[in-house]
């Protein structure tokens, strides 16, 4: 079944328009002939292919074609054509073809028309996708695509604000509906356990009795009602009239808006027949029917009138579907077809009038029949069909509608009232049809039109002719023309429940006919009464009473309020742009997160702590004071804060040394030194005095805020301390460290287990870590190249200015003597220390594997040696003597470390597998020659490079400042 030839044809029908869309997109921008040709051929081929299916369809076969797509999600690409789908496919392709012909003439030669045809074909494909989907998710997929293409088509003239807004509104409303539909279909799939349409359609009882029926129904109906512009979502359709008329004719009368009713009909067997269905669908349909018809009367714009008329007719179909009776369904499906024919032709006629006369305003248009009699005749036929005049197709389905309204479907007030409302709406429909005909074509021929109207090119009128003819033929001999198709469609929905019905112009003088007559007379009367009023309307086309309630305005304002003002205030209320609140939140969240498990399960914090040597107590009293002092001074005395930070660092360093971590003590100390120099380098560029903002003032608010922060900080610190305390007093678990201690010497050749961890067991960490250092150095360098100091920091520091002035003032002294004298002695010592520190660095490096030290410590030491020279002699002094290329050091270091790691590959071992042996070099002691040493050399090289690069880049800023200082 899946690969039958007809299945392939189905796929072809679906794909053709999309292919055409792409082709059209690449046509020359303004070539309307070729655009129309491509679109026309595609539509024609699609028609023919669809027609070719009719034999099978009339044999009540269902053609399916399945491509396995995402079986895990139950989502297959299934095409399915039954009678109902066939009917719609014919409508989509057939009217599509006619509209293409029409559009060829309608669109101006200056229009970039290939875009139009591309979108048009895209829409056609999407619409075919909707009707041919055999999988409900796939249906939702194409459903949204129709919204998208509709958006693009409405906004075709996007230079026009109305087109933009209309398109946006259509997209928003139908998009929302589409998402709801999507959710509803997922629910249906959940209920049924399959997304296959066939399966779903056969699970009506299961669905209707399921607890999720109501939510699913509501969601699906939201989709359908928005798409078919049903009250209260009808307002988008009139706005969509800003689209080119072919679009209105195609999408907004014949096809897309029909997707909603298509959906309701498609799911009619599984969703209809319940109270909920009746009341929701019925109310919406009835309201739409009435409101649409009523407002249509008062429209001055031809397309506006037609749009509201469309709304009303869709309401009629919806109302019919709500009844839940098979005959009502027949009527609904029949009316879908009829409405498509007469409304498409009317839109095209309106377009012709607009095209030829230059306006669509009924008040301006008069006596057009004198200018274009054929078009006028055609339009009148279609209007008559719209009004439900006998011998035209509209009459037939309206009669069926009346017949259904009389019957009782669900005993309720709504049900009781439908016949009266139906007549009323029908009367309105007669009235606006009359207005359309009389107001436009009759009366004194207008002379003040923008253009002098005349008949359009024949082929432009041709589609209207075809459709008007169809109205006639169907209206007169329905049983011969439309019944087979209609029955096939109905059968595919109702199956064996398909009712017997007769299609004939004359059923005798029955109640529906009486209703029709009443409606007709009422309509004529209404038009006559309102005529004066309608002609007097000046600028607005507002319908009395309810016209003031503009759905569009409400929607617009709601959108602006919800999606803009409201969103912005919510957004700004629930977020912050400042750093402090963010950090505060982070701390609080972390504290709460850490507290939750403890709160749930409890933790015993009362444990005896072994004491005790008074020295650590004293040390940490100092350390604590330093920390608090640093916190206290950080704002008012930066230097003091930095010094105190250093104090806390030393105490930490001693603590490490004390508790058996010499490597940590080394590194901590070295980092401490470098950090101090670093921050001092930075201090130069900060404002001299901490600037005080008002918000930091001393008021009560500030005090409360400070207290809050102190509490947060205190709680966090206390929490961390408590956890540390608990852990320290627990028996340690069996740890992987045992392994390291055991294997460090025997298998990695190092006695300093920490170092072996760094370069061997966990050498990969180290590789990453030096990369971090390298990256940071690069970033620092890059940032400083673009550094723009604040203007007030640009001057040389105050001290130097005074000292220079002093030197100037003193006889026998030159500017700069002070600093030379100042540094004379220290620089000698610092220079002398240079080689000594280098020796220390080599020492620390060489012994790292067995004793505290290693590449880091050595690298930092080496960097300090360089920094010291910069301090002693200044940047220029050093750089005329030493040429350091930190970037190279870094690159080489990284490569060396990496290559050492990669060398293991040569031996078929994983990255970083180290090799070592004790080599007895001549004269040297037994030297462990571990490849890890090379790795460590890489570490060393990078650390030197990165540290020097960071510090020197920062130091160079002073040169920049002094340069620019000289310029001024």
């Amino acid at each position: 079944m899946a690969f039958s030839l007809s299945g392939i044809f189905l796929l072809v029908i679906l794909c053709l328009p999309f292919v055409g869309s792409v082709v059209a997109a690449f046509l020359p921008t303004y070539d309307r002939d070729r655009g129309a040709l491509v679109a026309g051929i595609i539509a024609l081929v699609a028609i023919l292919l669809t027609l070719g299916f009719f034999p099978e369809i009339s044999a009540r076969n269902v053609i399916t074609y399945t491509l396995i797509w995402i079986p895990e999600l139950g989502l297959n690409f299934t095409l399915r054509m039954d009678g109902f789908a066939w009917m719609f496919a014919m409508m989509v392709t057939g009217i599509g073809f006619l509209v293409v012909i029409y559009a060829r003439y309608y669109m101006s030669p200056e229009d970039p028309v290939s875009r139009f045809f591309s979108f048009f074909l895209g829409f056609m494909g999407a619409m075919l996708g909707v009707v041919l989907s055999g999988n409900i998710i796939q249906l939702a997929l194409f459903w949204e695509l129709t919204s998208l293409f509709s958006f693009l088509l409405i906004s075709y003239w996007y230079h026009n604000a109305n087109a933009r807004e209309g398109a946006r509104m259509a997209l928003t409303v139908t998009g929302i509906g589409g998402l709801c539909l999507f959710a509803g279909l997922i629910l249906i799939g959940h209920i049924v356990g399959s997304y296959d349409l066939e399966t779903v359609l056969s699970s009506g009882d299961m669905i209707r009795s399921h607890a999720l029926y109501l939510p699913a129904l509501c969601l699906i109906l939201l989709g359908a009602l928005t798409k078919s512009a049903q009250f209260p979502f009808h307002f988008w359709l009139p706005q969509a009239m800003a689209a080119p008329t072919p679009v209105s004719a195609y999408l907004h009368s014949a096809t897309m808006v029909k997707a909603g009713v298509f959906l309701m009909a498609r799911f009619w067997p599984v969703l209809a027949g319940t109270d909920a269905w009746f009341f929701i669908v019925g109310t919406a349909g009835l309201a739409t029917l009435l409101i649409g018809a009523y407002i249509a009367i008062f429209q001055n714009d031809l397309k506006g009138l037609l749009a509201y008329s469309t709304i009303s007719h869709l309401g009629l179909i919806t109302l019919l579907l709500s009844f839940g009776s098979p005959l009502a369904l027949v009527a609904a499906v029949f009316h879908i077809l009829n409405h498509a024919t007469f409304k498409a032709s009317l839109f095209m006629a309106a377009g012709i009038i607009d095209h030829e006369a230059g306006t669509r305003d009924i008040r301006k248009l008069n006596g057009i029949i004198h200018y274009m009699p054929i078009t006028a005749t055609l339009a009148m036929i279609a209007s008559a069909a719209m009004a439900g005049v006998p011998l035209l197709n509209g009459f037939l389905s309206k009669e069926m509608f009346f017949a259904e309204t009389i019957l009782t479907h669900r005993a309720s007030a709504l049900d009781q009232l439908t016949p009266y409302f139906a007549v009323l709406a029908s009367a309105c429909s007669v009235a606006y049809s009359l207005r359309f005909i009389h107001g436009t074509f009759f009366g004194k021929p207008a002379t003040d039109l923008p253009k002098v109207p005349h008949e359009p090119p024949h082929w432009m009128r041709f589609p209207v002719e075809i459709l008007a003819l169809t109205c006639f033929v169907v209206g007169i001999i329905p049983a011969l023309t439309i019944k087979p198709f209609l029955t096939a469609a109905i059968y595919s929905i109702l199956g064996v429940n398909t009712p017997a019905y007769s299609l004939a112009v004359w059923h005798g003088l029955n109640f529906p006919l009486i209703m029709s007559i009443v409606a007709f007379l009422m309509g004529c009367l209404l038009y006559i009464c309102l005529r004066g009023y309608l002609d007097r309307q000046k600028d607005s086309d507002v319908a009395p009473i309810i016209g003031r309630i503009k759905g569009r305005r409400i929607f617009d304002e709601m959108m602006v309020a919800l999606s803009w003002r409201w969103a912005r205030s919510v957004d700004s209320f629930f977020s912050t742009k400042s750093l402090q609140p963010q950090l505060r939140l982070l701390v609080c969240v972390a504290v709460v997160a850490a507290f939750l498990p403890i709160w749930g399960q409890g933790l015993d914090f009362v444990r005896p702590s072994a004491l005790v040597n008074p020295v650590p107590i004293v040390l940490w009293l100092i350390g604590g004071c330093c920390a608090i002092g640093a916190a206290y001074y950080a704002k008012i005395h930066r230097m003091a804060a930095l010094i105190l930070l250093g104090g806390a660092g030393i105490i930490t360093c001693i603590t490490f040394a004390w508790f058996s971590a010499p490597d940590l003590a080394f590194t901590q100390l070295l980092v401490e030194i470098v950090t101090t120099v670093l921050i001092l380098l930075g201090l130069r560029w900060l404002p001299k005095k901490a600037q005080q903002t008002r918000s930091e003032g001393r008021g009560l608010v500030a005090r409360v805020k400070n207290t809050r922060d102190i509490i947060i900080a205190g709680v966090a610190g206390f929490g961390l301390a408590s956890i540390a305390y608990v852990v320290m007093l627990r028996v340690p678990p069996e740890s992987i460290s045992q392994f390291f201690l055991e294997k460090s010497y025997t298998e990695a050749g190092g006695k300093n287990v920490v170092n072996v961890l760094l370069v061997d067991f966990r050498g990969f960490d180290t590789l990453g870590e030096i990369t971090v250092l390298g990256i940071v150095a690069l970033t620092v360098y890059a940032l400083l190249r673009r550094f723009r100091p604040a203007p007030e920091s640009l001057d040389v520091p105050e001290q130097q200015r005074i000292q220079n002035a002093f030197d100037d003032a003193q006889p026998g002294r030159q500017k700069g003597d002070t600093v030379i004298d100042y540094l004379r002695i220290p620089s000698i010592v610092m220079q002398l220390m240079f080689p000594a520190i280098i020796v220390l660095a080599v020492f620390l490096f060489m012994r790292g594997h067995d004793q505290p030290g290693g590449g880091f410590a050595a690298g930092l030491t080496m960097a300090i040696a360089f920094i010291l020279q910069y301090m002693a002699g200044g940047t220029r002094w050093v750089e005329t003597r030493l040429r350091i290329l930190p970037m190279r050091w870094m690159g080489i270091g990284l490569l060396l470390a990496t290559c050492t790691g990669a060398a293991a590959w040569l031996f078929g071992r994983p990255f970083l597998t180290t090799y070592f042996s004790y080599v007895d070099l001549p004269f040297l002691d037994k030297v462990p020659a571990a490849s890890a040493l090379l790795f460590d050399l890489g570490v060393y090289s990078l650390v030197v490079g990165a540290t020097v690069l960071i510090l020197i880049a920062l130091a160079h800023q002073s040169l920049r400042a002094s340069r620019s200082g000289k310029d001024t």
Binding site: L583, A713, A716, Q738
Partner: protein, 113 residues
Amino acid sequence: MEAVIAFAIGILCSSGIWLLLRPRTFEVIIGLSLISYAVNLFMFAMGRLKVGAEPILRSGSIGISWYADPLPQALVLTAIVIGFAMTALFLVVMLASRGFSGTDHVDGKKEED
């Protein structure tokens, strides 16, 4: 002993966080440094405290369990270096920010008078 280290961790952490919540970049950088001390000590403490038992293998028949846990030390070492790098970076960014905004406020706010 443990109580002292716990105290140390707590006080460093509290001071650091308090500074972290201040509006001046310099306060923040000092705060970050203090926090990194606290965290380093915390990590170190997670290996338990031992005196005079450096994880540097000695000859003789000293049992494995005698040594201090080397792993947290290695981790802290890595953390110290990364912390240093980040301090440097933050410093420079804070200078750059001050250069652009003309203020040392973390949000680059000009002082309102």
